[in-house]
């Protein structure tokens, strides 16, 4: 901290060494005998220049053109058959382009750190203070700059596995990378906002699919979130009643299903409700259905399939909310209830004035997260119905498809990558708007330091 404040009020003209480090990174540090740091900066600069010469600059050009040579057959004199010549790979051009932009950004960051560091040693020298050695610097990273040490690896991970892919996919949304433009055979190009136009207004079938799926996604997220939430709270309240015995047993039975891997329970449920599945067989054995030909086709009727999806989601989700609200219920101070009893409140009043507000207060962030999670609840729909029953009015989507499962189908079955990315961005816009409005209004966001 002391270093940062040193002389920051006085503007000092840059010395020659500092000025030179604008060009030659690390010069300022080297001039003041900070060898490790100086050589480090210098190595970054040399490495960067080499990278740009070896291919970085070309990557940037390729990023804008996305390739110019298509795969074609060429007649070569002396050979009878034409030879296949592979053209540019637009997809890799774009990927390496994005990577190069990120490396350039990283370099600019390092360059700024270099200038800052040069200015700082200059200041320290002018004030006649001791210039920190390499060991001092290392120590700093265990104390004042501990956050950098701790965040270094996680941020590298996030950059490689989230940021880079995400930026790449966002760019894809502005190209025509679809089934008619498959790499490496064909090139794809920048097309601006065409995909967004197609989905939102341009293409009738596409926009019907988008808005139809969007409406169902929101209905689904709403029901999936709130059925689980309230049912879970009710179950927790019933189990937590003072007189109910075997609390651990009741809770244990429900918790058992949390521990069961979700994809297994979902696949089992799919078999359960299948045309020849347990539910239909049981109904037949009980005499409620005539025979297998009259079985209820749970997944063939759009409305029925939707209801089943929500019911199965309750089976999966109630134990979670039950467990959570049990925890909250047990943490509500008992004297609140005692005080209320003294004041003559009855059970219903106590529930609505004490229990419910407490639960809602503590679980609002959870509710928002769950809602967003349900908008993107891929597993449930994909494993249970696979999006079916199919809808002929839709483009590559079924009646129970959510936006995410539609996105997945567009990538894995249709190879319409640009469309999928566009939908991804639209999903993002929807979830972001929703959670920014709600999340920023919750107390836990505003009163972050309340407990410290």
């Amino acid at each position: 901290m002391s270093q940062k404040n040193d002389g920051s009020e006085i503007k000092v003209p840059d010395s020659l060494a500092t000025k030179l480090s604008f060009l030659i990174m690390g010069f300022g540090n080297l001039a003041h005998k900070q060898f490790v740091k100086g050589i480090g900066f210098l190595a970054i600069e040399v490495g960067f220049i080499l990278f740009m010469i070896m291919g970085g600059a070309q990557n940037i050009i390729n990023f804008f053109t996305l390739g110019t040579v298509e795969t074609h057959d060429e007649v070569i004199p002396g050979k009878i058959l034409p030879v296949r010549v592979f053209g540019d790979n637009s997809m890799l051009f774009l990927l390496f382009g994005v990577l190069t932009w990120m490396i350039i950004a990283g370099f600019v960051f390092a360059w700024r750190a270099n200038v800052k560091s040069a200015r700082q040693v200059q200041k320290l020298e002018m004030q006649g203070k001791k210039i920190p050695s390499f060991i001092d610097d290392v120590k700093l990273y265990l104390d004042e700059r501990f956050h950098i040490t701790m965040l270094f690896l996680p941020i590298i991970g996030i950059l490689t596995f989230t940021v880079l892919p995400l930026i790449y996919m966002i760019f894809i949304a502005f190209t025509n990378y679809d089934k008619h433009h498959q790499v490496p055979g064909n090139l794809f190009h920048w097309v601006g906002l065409t995909n967004f136009g197609n989905i939102l207004i341009g293409d009738k079938r596409m926009s019907a699919t988008f808005f139809g799926t969007l409406v169902w996604t929101i209905i689904w997220a709403f029901f999936a979130t709130f059925t689980n939430y309230f049912a879970g709270i009710i179950v927790a309240l019933i189990i937590n009643q003072k007189d109910v015995k075997f609390k651990k047993l009741w809770r244990g039975v429900l918790v058992l299903t949390i521990a069961m891997p979700q994809f297994i329970s979902l696949l089992v449920m799919r078999c359960f409700f299948a045309n020849y599945g347990v539910v239909n067989r049981t109904l037949i054995n009980m005499g409620l259905l005539k025979d297998v030909d009259h079985a209820i086709k749970f997944f063939d009727d759009p409305t029925l399939a939707k209801v089943i999806v929500i019911i199965v989601n309750m089976w999966i989700g109630i134990p979670h909310t039950m467990l959570m609200s049990s925890g909250i219920l047990m943490n509500i101070p008992q004297d609140l209830y005692e005080a209320a009893t003294v004041d003559g409140a009855n059970k219903i009043q106590m529930f609505f004035k004490i229990t419910l507000p407490q639960i809602i207060f503590t679980t609002t962030p959870y509710l928002i997260q769950t809602f967003i999670g349900n908008i993107n609840n891929f597993n449930l729909i994909y494993l249970l119905t696979g999006g079916g029953p199919s809808n002929t009015k839709y483009y590559a989507a079924g009646h129970t498809d959510l936006l995410v499962t539609w996105l997945y189908k567009l990538t894995s079955d249709q190879a319409d990558y640009s469309l999928a990315s566009t939908i991804g961005i639209l999903i993002f816009v929807i979830s972001a708007t929703f959670s920014l409005i709600t999340y920023r209004n919750t107390k836990s966001y505003k009163e972050e330091d309340a407990f410290q």
Binding site: A420, D449, Q452
Partner: protein, 311 residues
């Protein structure tokens, strides 16, 4: 004053009917809970029963297996209800299904990604909660924003990145995919650190500890619940996810995890033969996870509630 007296009087008068009411409510509660438990146990019971069922085929006509006679593969059954054959078949590799190997693959991936992602998540959340620096809020907002993109939108890009370094069909790729971005999942854990009093840090700093020492020697030892919560979640992930695994592995059976293996047993062309093996495999996957989960349940609840309190 008078209102209080009034309730006391009416309370006494109604005490008999009140007790009766309470009894009915209690009985109703028990009935409700019993029904609920049955509903929740049935599917699990069914998988267990199916895994031991002698009668072949995907669907049996009854919920409880019935005696069955006939020849199934190399075994002859006469009036058999249950058999261990399904488990034996599961561990006999054929057509690329090598369950023992898949189980081991999953275990390796789980263990590695559990260690890495727990470290990433705990480190990030500690920094976000306790340390104050310039880009903290920015980082948190960016993390929030990135969390809102559907996760596997970036699947294709990740696939090509891993392919370009030549590791896309290896277990290492899975470990990286599962744990790489776990620094973003710091919200629950941060909620926990937010509730640890800052006075602890300050006291240690006065005694001359630096921030690294505060973290490793003071905060970490008292964060067992949240570490267990985080580790449990990370460990269970690879057992349950199949989208990423499937996308990365394609037809490369050697590196299949149990999730992809079990899922492909339910393919249309496999389901009739493999259905009971699927049930057996499910049991073998579910049991260790259930045991683990049940024994660490306490921490899980603390993690969930602690996280919910502070988002």
């Amino acid at each position: 004053m008078s209102a209080n007296n009034l309730t006391a009087v009416t309370g006494k008068a109604n005490s008999k009917s009140y007790a009766a009411q309470k009894r009915t409510a209690l009985i109703a509660s028990y009935v409700f809970l019993t029904l609920l438990s049955i509903l929740w146990v049935i599917p699990i019971l069914w998988v267990v029963l199916t895994s031991f069922r002698a009668e072949p085929g995907q669907f049996a006509p009854t919920f409880f297996p019935r005696p069955w006679s006939g020849i199934d593969g190399d075994t002859k059954f006469t009036n058999a209800v249950f058999t261990l054959k399904n488990y034996k078949d599961l561990f006999t590799p054929r057509e690329g299904f090598d369950f023992a190997k898949m189980w081991l693959n999953t275990f390796i991936v789980s263990a590695c990604s559990c260690v890495i992602s727990t470290f990433f998540a705990v480190a990030t959340s500690y920094v976000m909660s306790r340390l104050r620096f310039k880009l903290r809020k920015t980082f948190m907002n960016i993390a929030l924003v990135m969390g809102m993109f559907p996760g596997f939108m970036s699947m294709i890009a990740i696939y090509f990145i891993l392919k370009s370094i030549g590791i896309h069909q290896t277990l290492l790729a899975l470990v990286l995919v599962y744990s790489g971005s776990s620094g973003l999942g710091f919200y629950v854990c941060k909620g926990f650190f937010d509730t640890v009093p800052k006075a602890l840090d300050e006291a240690a700093m006065i005694d001359g500890a630096n921030k690294a020492q505060v973290f490793f020697k003071i905060i970490l030892p008292m964060s067992k619940p949240i570490i267990v919560y985080q580790a449990l979640g990370a460990f269970m992930g690879p057992w349950m996810d199949f989208i990423f695994a499937k996308f990365l592995m394609g037809q490369h059976y050697d590196t299949y995890t149990v999730a992809i293996g079990l899922y492909s047993m339910l393919d249309k062309e496999h389901i009739d033969v493999y259905f009971r093996q699927f049930a057996a495999g499910s049991c073998l996957v579910a049991v260790p996870i259930m045991v683990l989960f049940m024994s660490l349940q306490k921490y899980y609840v603390e993690g969930v509630t602690g996280g919910a309190v502070k988002g």
